[in-house]
Every structure is written in structure tokens, then in C-alpha cells.
């Protein structure tokens, strides 16, 4: 038990830093002074495993698993409050996105409903060129919230009764363009 509390440097992944630094704007996190403005401003930090400040501390120390498995990245609503307030002008929201992508790439999405929704959304856009909110909702429910399906019914009904839920997806004309772009991007490799 006692050993468990002491983190041995050898067990940490210092390459993780390099990974993050190589992202656009990522090198900026070297300059974080751990002031906590981000966490103190973040609307959702109170439910996060670690606030954005601590995430940066963990990244810098090489706590790869802790960061990528944390709920933090999925609780970020992309409100950009932290980004515009950080005294070191670190693009925190972008780093959160980068961490999301990394977590998805590594399949660390178990129980992460936001990840499921995002992926569903992407396949929807790839399919139609646009998001079809009704189908998105149905597919997402089937994947992530099967047991909670009921709670969506009220919401869906609410929208439906107000004439706000379309049934037909809208497919763009040149969906092949999207497909081509997608193929090319895969070829080029993500940044």
C-alpha cells in the first residue's frame, strides 16, 4: 500500500509530453504556471476528475493513463472560457480536443457517452454531409443509452409536438466530394 502512493518516475511516460507538444499550439502548455484560472473559470470543472490545470500538470509529469482515461476531457463543453482567460494564452480548449482525439484513437471511450455521440455524429456527417438530428438521437440512444431510452422519449415528444423534429435526413448533393476529401485526409494522415 505504501509503495502505491509513491509514483516512481520510471513508471511515467515522458514521451507523452512530446506527443502533446507536437500538436498545433501544444507546446504552449510548457508555459503553464499552474495558476488555476482555467479550473476556477471552467463551468464543468467541479465534476471533472481533474480540472484543466491539473490535466496540464499530469501531462507534464507524464501521467498518460490518468489523463486519457479521465472524464475531464469528455466534460469539456468547448465554451472557451479558460482559453480566453488563461494568463499565458494557452489554447486550453484545443488541447482538450486533442486529448479527446487521442483517447478515441486509443479506444479509451468505454462509458464515455460524449465520445459515442461524437463518433456517431461523424459517421452521420460522412454519410449525409449534414447532421440529421433525429437519426443521430436514435442511433446514439441505441449505442450508449439503451437503458435510458425512456428519458429521451419525453424530450423527443416535446420537440415533435412543437414541429421541431424532422424525419427525413438531408443529404447534400455532392456527398462524393466529402468522401473524396475524407479519403485524401486519411492518406495525408491526421496532424
Amino acid at each position: 500500500m505504501i509503495e502505491k502512493d509513491i509514483v516512481c518516475e520510471a513508471g511515467l511516460e515522458h514521451n507523452f509530453l512530446e506527443e502533446i507538444y507536437s500538436l498545433p499550439g501544444g507546446a504552449e502548455i510548457k508555459k503553464c504556471i499552474q495558476c488555476g484560472t482555467c479550473t476556477g473559470s471552467c463551468p464543468t470543472s467541479y465534476v471533472m476528475d481533474y480540472g484543466p490545470r491539473k490535466i496540464f500538470s499530469l501531462i507534464r509529469a507524464g501521467f498518460r493513463d490518468e489523463v486519457l482515461n479521465s472524464n475531464t476531457i469528455w466534460f469539456c463543453s468547448s465554451c472557451y472560457t479558460c482559453t480566453v482567460r488563461c494568463p499565458k494564452e494557452i489554447k486550453i480548449t484545443d488541447v482538450m480536443y486533442a486529448l479527446k482525439r487521442l483517447a478515441i484513437k486509443e479506444g479509451r471511450t468505454k462509458g464515455r457517452k460524449t465520445a459515442v455521440l461524437s463518433q456517431t455524429f461523424v459517421s452521420m456527417v460522412n454519410k449525409y454531409g449534414r447532421n440529421h438530428e433525429t437519426e443521430l438521437m436514435v442511433r446514439y440512444i441505441l449505442k450508449a443509452e439503451f437503458f435510458n431510452a425512456l428519458k429521451f422519449v419525453t424530450q423527443g415528444w416535446n420537440l415533435l409536438s412543437n414541429g421541431r423534429l424532422p424525419f427525413k435526413p438531408h443529404r447534400i448533393k455532392h456527398i462524393n466530394e466529402i468522401r473524396k476529401i475524407l479519403k485524401k485526409v486519411d492518406e495525408l494522415g491526421e496532424i
Binding site: Q34, C35, G36, T39, G40, S41, Y46, R53, P87
Partner: protein, 659 residues
């Protein structure tokens, strides 16, 4: 002169330092073969007394008019050998040095290569020396009067130092009274001594000193000239009260029906040190104790009727027709002591300064806390009651790339001072929200230690925002500070009654303009740039212009006073010398060749070049030129010559190197 050059060349062994790598004999032979060389000799230590004597003797004996020494770096011994020439009646600028030690024998392994390079360096020096011309030594005398701009503690200290040494001072302060920020404080960290008790006597002394001519409510209009001989023009703004007649009785202020328009901001901005009438004194300790009429608040100036002050003044000191006056002085040196201003936090909307009452700036708090201020030194909320809890937020506007990147250096300490004063005067709980506590001065850490013992709470975290939206019980009617306590790792909502923003220090309004007038520059941060960050912190790039206090960078009172005394002693040392030698190797413009394109005008970092409209040519003020040569290289008409670094001299040096 070229045809008559008689060059003496001396090659130094420097013990074995040079001789072990460079074939000295070969070089001597080589030098002898060069045009114009009359003698070429070598010696073990050229810089030794016998070595120097050798040159002196040869100059006389062979009637030499150029000397070349090949030895160490000119940075080491150029001065030594120039003196040798001078002693023998030869202009020191006719001496040339070839660096065959630092940049040759010491850095190369191969002896042949080193000898070849040494030859080239000697050849270059000999060739160059043929084109040298004697330069005059130039001296200017120093006017013993000094201009001090800014009458805060820095300006006061510097002025008194100079005045006590018997030198005349012209002190210009733009506010109606001297004293600066310090005059608004009650207590000062870390010793908590009473600011008024230590400052007021000095202010009075300045006001009465026979060697100090004090201009308050005045500004520097124009500065011209150069070290030792500046001309300054001062604008004395109309205060509508005659300083010579007024005896400071205060009748006018008592009877004045006008009220001074409060500064912008929230309710607490009405806080004031002096009377709030339209005719007012900035504080009761003001020096001079002569009131000023604020035109914007005066009923007469705004509506054309009143003049009560005029009626009640027994000394007939009020003069509504007063106009700005101009005064001109000649001074030898200038000390800029324009201090700072505090950051305006209303741009950091999330702290809601000016929107929520009871969010105060540090200066608001100082004024409120000052015994002679409008609350009589009581710490009160806007509703007149005492706060039960106070939050002090550090680093507002400082250490933030969006505002000022630098640390303001004094706010940690004054925040601790505030915490202590609040504890002393009220029963309030005090929180300090900080990122790092920077308490590095003498007695500062001890002060922090004392505060820890006084149960002041410290939360490490930069505050996210301040809100009045109560969500939890106990938050109603409070200001809620939302912050991550980074040491605990939790976001906290701390309800308090009053928030004090530890606003940072920034360059005061108008500093850049003032600097420009004095021909010095301000940095990216807005403060004046010193000559050298370590070794010239009170001088500037312009000779005769010095800086003291917070206008150089944020600093506390001890540092300010130290720098002020350093600046005054630098000035005194100039005055005592009486004269100052200025650069001889300056640039010169040939009027005949100058096409008047003005390209050079803006290039000079010392603003030494101006344009003569009548002649249509540019001219260089040699007193300002430092001989950098930037303009020379830029002139498309080849009209500018850099003395001692002329094109011919450098060309011949190049030829020598590659011959």
C-alpha cells in the same frame, strides 16, 4: 598625407603566448617589406614599460607618424598604446592594433596557418594605418543645475540629495502637490511605519529648500541640447490661485459650493484624501499648501457665476484670469522620476470592478485606510458598515499576457500589508488569493511569517471570477469569489463582503512622450530602458539623462530611494568632473554630397541627425553622435563619413587581409 606616412610596426611575443605559435621573425621581415614601414621590431612584452619606451624612442628617432602594434586584443591594450602615442606627441587616433593573440595564436593549432593569418592581420593593420587621420579630443562642460521630473519619493530624494550638496535643482511635478503615491499611504510594508511621518518632513524640506525651484501642476514641454547643456521648457498650468499670495488658510475650500466630479468607477471612488470642493488641495499635507481650482467642477467656470472663493480670500490670491506660463532653464543633467500608475481593472470584466460595489482597487483601499481620508481611516463597505470578510486578489493585470506580462513586484507585499491592517482595524476574515508569494526583500519573509500567525487565510489560485449570484446558503448578499484552490485541487466559492484587487503597476500616462522629449526610449512594457540592466540601472542610453524609481520598473520604496540616491550621485559625479569627454570617432556629413534624401534622419538611434531646411541637407550633431556608423552605411550618396572607420580605412583593411 598618404605619401608621407612613416609607419612603425611592433610585434609582441607575449612571452610564449604568441611566439610559440607564430613565427615572429617572419612577420617582422614581412612587415619591413610593406609600403611606408620605416621600422619593424619585435619585443617580448610590448605593453611593459621597456616595450612602451621602445615605441616612444622610435617615434622621436624616426619621426614616425603611424604606429602599429601586433599583440593582444585592442579591448585589452588599445588605450595603453594610444597613451604612448599621446605622450610622444602623436595623435592617439594614428595608432592601430592587430590582434594576433586572442584571435590567432590562442585559437589555432597549426603554426603555419597561424603565421599566415598573423601576417594578414598585420598587413591589414599597416594598410589601414596609412589612411588614419588625427581626431580631436572633444570635451563639453557640464551645467551644474539638474532637472528632476516627477515629485514622488524618487524625485524628492534625488532633489534633496543634490540640493544638500549645494547644487541647484528644478523639480517639475504635474500634480498640484508633490508626494506621489507614497503620500496616499497610511502605513508602509514591511515595517509598517507611518508613511506621512517619514514623507511629510521631506516634502516640506523640498518646498523650502533654497536650492530647489519647485514647479507643481507643471509639465515638461520641450527638451533640447545634449549632455551638460540641455535647454528645457516648462509649462506651468494655471491653478487660478497665486502661489505667492496664498497662505493656505483654507477659507476658500470651506466656503466653495462646488463639488469635485468624482473619478470614474464605483461608489468607493468617491473616496478622497483632500477636500471635495471645486477648489481643493490634493491632501492636507500638500506641498505647496496652495489650493487649485478644478475647472470641470467649478461653478464659475462651468456656469459663469459664483466667485465665492474670490470674495472670501483675504489675501486676494484667487485669479480667474490666470493662464499657463512657460519657463525656460538650462540644465546639465536630467533625472526622470515619473513613477507609475496602477492598472485599471475595469477591463477585466470577470472581476466586475465598477459594476459591483465593494470591489475596490488597491489605491481605493489605501485612500480609505488613510487616517486623513474621507472615512477617517475606517474600513467600510459602500453601505457604511464594516466588512466581515475581505478577499484580496493578487496579480490583477500583472503576470498576464493579456495585460502586463511582468510581475509588479510590490503587490504581494502590499496585499500582505492590507491583510494586516484589516485584521488590525476590523474583525474580518481575510483571504489572500495568490499565484506565488513574492516576498524577497529584507524583512519581507518575516512579515509573511507574521501574517500567517495572524490567521490570514491564503488560497493558492488565481481567481476565476467574482459574482453576486448566490447559489448556496450563506452566499446571499455577498460577493462570491470562484477560484480553484490549486493546493487542494478543488474549486471553491468563497463568499466575502469586500474584494480588493491587487492591481499591478504600469508606466504612467505620458511617460513615452516624456521619454521621447528626453531622447530615451521605453521598452515593450512601457517603462524607460536603462543603459544596462545590471551595470547601468540608473543611466540611460543618452548621456546626461538618468532615471530613478518606478518609471524604470515596478519597485517598492526602499529600492526607489536607493535608485534615486544612485541617480543623484551619478549626476553629482558628472557635475564634479565639470567637463565630459565625448566620442571623437563620430560621423560627419559632407554637405556637398548629401542629396537631402533624409534616409539617414530616422536611422540614428540617438537622434543625432537633423535636417537643415534652408540648405536642404542633413547635419549630424556631433555631441549626440556615438559613432555607430549605421547612417554611414545607409547613405545612398556616400555623403557620410564615419571618422576612424572611413570607407577607405576599411577597404584598405580588407585589401590587407586578402593581399
Amino acid at each position: 598625407m598618404d605619401s608621407e606616412e612613416r609607419i612603425g610596426v611592433y610585434i609582441c611575443h607575449c612571452g610564449t603566448n604568441i611566439a610559440s605559435k607564430v613565427d615572429i621573425a617572419e612577420i617582422v621581415e614581412f612587415a619591413k617589406g610593406m609600403k611606408g614601414v620605416i621600422v619593424a621590431k619585435d619585443y617580448k612584452f610590448m605593453c611593459s614599460d621597456p616595450g612602451q619606451g621602445l615605441i616612444e624612442k622610435d617615434i622621436k628617432e624616426y619621426n614616425l607618424n603611424r604606429i602599429v602594434v601586433a599583440s593582444c586584443s585592442p579591448l585589452m591594450h588599445e588605450k595603453t598604446f594610444r597613451k604612448v602615442c599621446e605622450r610622444s606627441g602623436l595623435n592617439p587616433y594614428l595608432f592601430t592594433m592587430a590582434n594576433i593573440r586572442e584571435q590567432c595564436s590562442w585559437v589555432h593549432i597549426d603554426e603555419n596557418a597561424a603565421t599566415e593569418k598573423a601576417k594578414a592581420l598585420v598587413a591589414a593593420a599597416i594598410r589601414r594605418s596609412a589612411f588614419l587621420e588625427p581626431l580631436e579630443r572633444r570635451e563639453v562642460s557640464i551645467n551644474p543645475t539638474t532637472l528632476v521630473v516627477g515629485g514622488g519619493i524618487a524625485g524628492i530624494q534625488a532633489s534633496l540629495d543634490l540640493a544638500e550638496a549645494g547644487k541647484k535643482v528644478v523639480l517639475v511635478e504635474r500634480e498640484p502637490s508633490i508626494g506621489g503615491h507614497m503620500a496616499k499611504f497610511d502605513k508602509t510594508f514591511p515595517t509598517l511605519d507611518c508613511a506621512a511621518c517619514i514623507l511629510t518632513p521631506k516634502m516640506v524640506q523640498v518646498g523650502q529648500h533654497p536650492n530647489i525651484e519647485l514647479f507643481t501642476y507643471s509639465e515638461v514641454e520641450d527638451v533640447s541640447g545634449y549632455v551638460g547643456n540641455f535647454k528645457v521648457k516648462i509649462r506651468k498650468k494655471a491653478r487660478y490661485v497665486d502661489e505667492n499670495l496664498c497662505n493656505g488658510c483654507g477659507m476658500c475650500m470651506e466656503k466653495c459650493p462646488g463639488t469635485r466630479v468624482p473619478r470614474k468607477g464605483n461608489v468607493h471612488e468617491r473616496l478622497s484624501l483632500g477636500p471635495t470642493s471645486a477648489i481643493y488641495l490634493p491632501s492636507m499635507q500638500a506641498v505647496p499648501a496652495v489650493p487649485v481650482i478644478d475647472r470641470n467642477s467649478c461653478i464659475y467656470f462651468q456656469k459663469g457665476k459664483c466667485r465665492i472663493c474670490e470674495k472670501v480670500c483675504e489675501r486676494d490670491a484667487i485669479n480667474f484670469d490666470m493662464e499657463d506660463e512657460f519657463h525656460e532653464f538650462e540644465v546639465g543633467n536630467i533625472i526622470i522620476a515619473a513613477g507609475f500608475q496602477t492598472f485599471d481593472p475595469s477591463v477585466v470584466i470577470r472581476y466586475r470592478y465598477g459594476l459591483l460595489p465593494n470591489v475596490l482597487t488597491a489605491m481605493d483601499f489605501e485612500i480609505m485606510n488613510c487616517a486623513s481620508g474621507s472615512t477617517g481611516g475606517k474600513i467600510l463597505k459602500s453601505d457604511g458598515t464594516e466588512p466581515k470578510s475581505v478577499g484580496i486578489i493578487h496579480c490583477v493585470g500583472s503576470r498576464d499576457k493579456r495585460y502586463h506580462e511582468y510581475c509588479s513586484r510590490v503587490c504581494c507585499m502590499y496585499a500582505l500589508k492590507f491583510a494586516h491592517l484589516i485584521k488590525e482595524k476590523t474583525n474580518a476574515e481575510v483571504y489572500n488569493f495568490y499565484i506565488d508569494l513574492r516576498c524577497f526583500g529584507k524583512g519581507y519573509e518575516e512579515f509573511y511569517d507574521r501574517l500567517l500567525g495572524e490567521d490570514v487565510r491564503f488560497v493558492r489560485g488565481k481567481v476565476g471570477e467574482i459574482t453576486d449570484l448566490a447559489i448556496h446558503p450563506g452566499e446571499q448578499g455577498k460577493l462570491i469569489i470562484r477560484v480553484e484552490d490549486t493546493l487542494i485541487g478543488a474549486v471553491r466559492r468563497v463568499p466575502v463582503d469586500m474584494v480588493i484587487l491587487a492591481t499591478g503597476l504600469e508606466a504612467p500616462e505620458g511617460l513615452a512622450e516624456l521619454a521621447k522629449k528626453c531622447n530615451v526610449s521605453v521598452g515593450k512594457d512601457g517603462f524607460i530602458i536603462e543603459r544596462h540592466p545590471k551595470l547601468g540601472p540608473v543611466a540611460t542610453a543618452t548621456d546626461g539623462v538618468f532615471i530613478a524609481g518606478a518609471c524604470q520598473s515596478p519597485k517598492d520604496i526602499p529600492d526607489t530611494v536607493a535608485q534615486a540616491s544612485a541617480a543623484s550621485s551619478a549626476v553629482l559625479s558628472m557635475i564634479m568632473r565639470g567637463k565630459i569627454e565625448i566620442e571623437s570617432a563620430t560621423a560627419e556629413i559632407d554637405e556637398e554630397r548629401c542629396s537631402g534624401c533624409r534616409i539617414c534622419n530616422d536611422l540614428c538611434p540617438y537622434m543625432a541627425i537633423s535636417f537643415e531646411e534652408e540648405k536642404g541637407v542633413s547635419v549630424i550633431n556631433e555631441a549626440l553622435c556615438k559613432g555607430c556608423g549605421t547612417c554611414v552605411a545607409a547613405c545612398p550618396s556616400n555623403a557620410i563619413t564615419a571618422k576612424h572607420f572611413t570607407n577607405e580605412q576599411i577597404f584598405s583593411e580588407i585589401e590587407g587581409l586578402l593581399q
